[in-house]
């Protein structure tokens, strides 16, 4: 333990604990209201916000009932299993009054006053309006209840002690309020609000420090979650084709943009929900995110798509042969998939990224259509290509489809991605 984080901790932790205990006294322990007291308009608004927040992405297990929790989330400190947020009175949100729910989302405190792990992105939800959080409560409290006790987390010390979260909060959890930018359009500010609050884009797209807190000084500069790299969404965007609002909208709405690439990994569930979210809100997200990416190299004409066929074949002959047999049937000019309107690989972001994570993940685990059976699909190669062969193909893709230097850590990236599996 370094002295730097030793010194300020104890008084701050004591203060945080005292605050948490004091908070128990308020309206948090009131019984929840009966479902018929929520208005239809409030429930409908909550339904929209739950899609924008992709609550299901974490709170629904594979094959499980919606919102009943149990999905494993990886962290540097082990595995956290998400909780049941159906209105079940024993194991779910039925134990939360409206006030307790808002407190949980805004301050990361459980109904009984215990700390919630920051896997729950309350550092973003703290920026949401009370009215929006109340609508979310109305929506979740009118879902079908499911009695599903929590799966115990598998965390290493000291993270396995919930009280340790108080220290984490004292160090890193200092939310403010959302501030609209004067002089910007209503759509821009709506997008900014959703990105910062319920959308919690930074939970993946912002780098995290050694205690898994977002580095708030580097918002949306790219981060790693669940074994995937979430690329920067600002001036650092490595895209080779500029992201206009129309391109961002297509990507968020359908999981696919014909001048970029397909949503993959944890972004799959995000776009599955955004496909059904209010169009105006997805448009607002697109306006805001495209504005953030306006100073990127592609938008300024300093980056453009590359296709160095001869150089790549000379530099990576083994990768070139494997690509010709395993990839070219879909990805080469004139191939069936190209005629379907799939983007050529030099338009895709992963080959441009600073790390090989996403290219390796997609080769190993393929792509499943995110928003329906007509979405982009790619078969997995984990069963047929060895680690060395996957690394060869990735090195070839980098050499052929980008102007950037070769990736250095390919062998370890492949071994790591194979251990983690497609969804982390």
């Amino acid at each position: 333990m370094s002295p730097a984080w030793n010194t300020p901790v104890l008084p701050a932790a004591a203060a945080a604990l005292a605050l948490a205990l004091a908070a128990c006294a308020g309206g948090a322990r009131l019984p929840p209201p009966p479902p018929q007291t929520f208005s239809a308009a409030e429930i409908e608004k909550g339904a929209e916000l739950a899609k924008l927040a992709d609550c299901q992405g974490c709170h629904t297990a594979d094959g499980g009932q919606a919102f009943a929790g149990g999905r494993p989330l990886n962290s540097p400190f082990g595995t956290i299993y998400t909780r049941n947020i159906t209105p079940d009175p024993r194991t779910g949100l039925g134990r939360y009054s409206r006030e307790a729910f808002i407190r949980a989302l805004r301050r990361g405190v459980r109904f009984d006053g215990a700390e919630l792990y920051p896997a729950m992105p309350y550092d973003h939800f703290a920026y949401a309006d009370d009215e929006d959080l109340g609508a979310l409560y109305a929506y979740l409290m009118t879902r079908r209840p499911k009695d599903q006790p929590p799966t115990p987390n598998k965390l290493i010390p000291p993270a396995n002690i919930r009280g340790a979260v108080a220290i984490w909060k004292a160090l890193f959890f200092h939310p403010g309020r959302f501030q609209p930018t004067p002089g910007r359009s209503a759509a821009f500010n709506r997008g900014a609000y959703l990105v910062q609050s319920l959308g919690h884009c930074g939970a993946c797209h912002t780098p995290h420090n050694f205690l898994d807190a977002e580095e708030t000084s580097k918002p949306l500069q790219g981060g790693v979650q669940e074994g995937w790299y979430a690329p920067p969404l600002n001036a650092l965007s490595p895209a080779s084709v500029p992201w206009t609002p129309e391109h961002v909208y297509s990507f968020l709405r359908t999981g696919f943009d014909r001048d970029h690439s397909a949503a993959a990994g944890p972004m799959g569930s995000v776009v599955r929900e955004l496909a059904r979210a209010p169009e105006a809100d997805v448009r607002a997200l697109s306006v805001y995110l495209a504005t953030l990416m306006q100073p990127s190299p592609a938008a300024k004409g300093a980056a453009r798509p590359a296709d160095h066929v001869a150089q790549a074949a000379a530099a990576q002959p083994a990768g070139a042969r494997l690509y010709a047999g395993a990839c070219a049937a879909c990805h080469d000019a004139g191939a069936a998939m190209m005629r379907e309107g799939r983007p050529p690989l030099q338009f895709a972001t992963p080959p441009q990224e600073d790390r090989p994570t996403d290219v390796v993940q997609v080769i190993l685990h393929g792509l499943q259509p995110a928003t329906g059976p007509r979405g982009p699909y790619m078969p997995a190669f984990a069963g047929t290509l060895s680690d060395a062969q996957v690394a060869d193909v990735a090195a070839y893709v980098r050499a052929r489809y980008s102007d950037r230097p070769p990736w250095k850590d390919l062998a370890s990236a492949v071994a790591k991605a194979r251990r983690q599996g497609g969804e982390g």
Partner: protein, 158 residues
Amino acid sequence: MSLVLTVNGRQHTVDASPETPLLYVLRNDLQLNGAKFGCGLGQCGACTVQVDGKAAYSCLLPVAAAQGRAIRTVEGLGAPEAPSPLQKAFMDEQAAQCGYCIGGMIMRAQALLDANPRPSEAHIRAHMQPNLCRCGTHMRILRAIRRAAGLPVEAASA
């Protein structure tokens, strides 16, 4: 270029350029025609064989990457006069209509049964999901797999 492949336990030396898909070598050079060319894109599963015990699309496997690995095709399971238990189950359930997908279906199902001789219904369905049958005999294919696994032929709920 001369390559050595191990197919159904036998070594074969073939002359092929390294990027040639394994499927073409199996069919054109080794006359093993059980694996079929369907889409050539890894989307239908008609070309499925086993590589080191796992189901693999042979249309997307460069032959250079198949060297030194145990390749198994439907011909390696049994013959018409002596079918394997899974092949016999496919016959008993009349699981083939046109039959084009069946070689791949059997090889994918066999990979599952080799790893897990008594899979659950959900496991069978998830495992067989990548392979398509345009005649629509999926229900009979599932019955054949259950039969081969010694499970009740009529599905319990998935």
